[in-house]
């Protein structure tokens, strides 16, 4: 744990140091390049704003209306038939849609069932093993102005489903005893 946390503390400053030392050796105008790249970052952020805001508000409306909760209880009989614990279902549904909500749910599950319980381990694994599909598609496509997403959403969501199933199977096998 100590090693891991010190690696993550060191890695970013070391990357910056490495880039600048090489730039110094190669006599590259580092500051000017930094400003040039930074301007590009600024423009990207501004063009991203409407895409992100639109999607974020839509997700919040859906979530606050209780529709997601209703979908969960609708799916519950099918999923419990497949031996998927019902406590994990809301997290599985929210994980691809909202990163912050999923993180909140993971903390809640870990808090109420304990980090070393089956549910705590399962929630940890599900939280860590996939990313928020909606966020990534919105931000990446939005920033470069892609209007037609093609199969990206379908493929991303299918992969999420596989990931959730994989997490459940692996956690069950590894922590069986």
């Amino acid at each position: 744990m100590n090693l891991i946390s010190s690696i993550s503390l060191w890695i970013i400053p070391l990357i910056i140091l490495f880039i600048l030392v090489i730039a110094l050796i190669k006599k590259v105008p580092a500051y000017e390049l930094f400003v040039e790249g930074g301007k590009e970052g600024m423009q990207l952020a501004i063009s991203l704003l409407p895409f992100f805001l639109g999607m974020f508000v839509a997700i919040s409306i859906l979530q606050s209306s209780g529709a997601l909760k209703a979908a969960t209880s609708l799916l519950e009989p099918i999923l419990s038939f497949l031996h998927i614990p019902k406590e994990i279902i809301p997290l599985a549904l929210i994980r691809p849609i909202s990163g912050t909500a999923a993180l909140g749910m993971t903390s809640e599950i870990i808090q109420s069932y304990g980090p070393d319980s089956f549910l705590g381990r399962l929630a940890s694994t599900m939280q860590g093993s996939t990313d928020t599909t909606f966020y990534i598609l919105t931000v990446y496509f939005g920033a470069v102005g892609i209007k037609r997403m093609g199969d990206a959403l379908k493929v991303g969501l299918l992969a999420d489903i596989i990931g959730i199933i994989a997490s459940i199977i692996i956690v069950t096998i590894v922590f069986a005893n």
């Binding site: 744990m1 993550s8 890695i11 970013i12 090489i22 730039a23 580092a30 390049l33 400003v35 930074g38 970052g41 990207l44 952020a45 991203l48 704003l49 639109g54 999607m55 974020f56 508000v57 839509a58 997700i59 409306i61 859906l62 979530q63 606050s64 209306s65 529709a67 993971t106 808090q111 980090p115 070393d116 940890s124 694994t125 599900m126 860590g128 093993s129 996939t130 599909t133 990534i136 598609l137 931000v139 990446y140 496509f141 470069v144 102005g145 892609i146 209007k147 037609r148 997403m149 093609g150 990206a152 493929v155 991303g156 299918l158 992969a159 596989i162 994989a166 997490s167 692996i170 922590f175």
Partner: protein, 194 residues
């Protein structure tokens, strides 16, 4: 498709709230979430400016080319449409490396830059094959060490906060491989249609 999904989310949300007596919550959500979205993007702006600035230096110093020369043999097969020496490859690999080491903050700007370079190649507002493959790998995120989750486990008194690192890695590798297979299947389907 994104138009329909977006409209359906809002319409279902509002109708559901009407029937469910949650109009107050929805009203509140509209106002606060718009506000929150702005602060998230502003938070992202500082990271975008910093890392794209840094990466411009790396590009100028020839480091990005080195990275793609070093790693591209491994991922070239996934992106057959991108020429080996194209800057898109460098940014894709930089994004993967950042994700691998859990540097989510640095990964997003690099990913956006990679998308921009891929758009230069495709010259279209439609997602290209390479873009879809790239995003699918990103959504199934290969991370060696899930630091946030370890932090939460530690906070709630786990006897072994890092015990999930192994299973998470297995799960994420399985997810990424299946994502690539699903992507490949859809790619074949698209090819048949064209």
């Amino acid at each position: 498709m994104v138009n329909i999904i977006w409209m359906i989310m809002i319409i279902i949300g509002i109708i559901f709230a009407m029937l469910n007596g949650k109009m107050g919550e929805v009203n509140e959500a509209i106002l606060t979430s718009a506000d929150e979205a702005i602060s998230i993007v502003i938070g992202l702006t500082s990271i975008l400016i910093f890392w794209l600035g840094m990466m411009k230096i790396a590009e100028g110093a020839g480091l990005l080319n080195k990275l793609s020369a070093l790693l591209s043999p491994a991922v070239k097969k996934l992106f057959p449409e991108i020429p080996a020496n194209h800057p898109a490859m460098g940014y894709i690999l930089a994004n993967f490396s950042a994700n691998l080491f859990g540097l989510g903050n640095a990964a997003t700007p690099l990913g956006i830059k990679a998308m921009k370079e891929m758009k230069k190649l495709s010259q279209s507002d439609k997602a290209s094959n390479s873009m879809i493959t790239f995003l699918v790998i990103n959504t199934s995120s290969i991370t060696l060490i899930p630091t946030t989750v370890i932090g939460i486990r530690l906070q709630y008194g786990s006897t072994n906060p890092t015990e999930i690192v192994g299973v998470t890695l297995i799960a994420t590798v399985i997810t990424t491989i299946s994502a690539l297979i699903v992507d490949w299947i859809f790619r074949q389907k698209r090819r048949r249609w064209e």
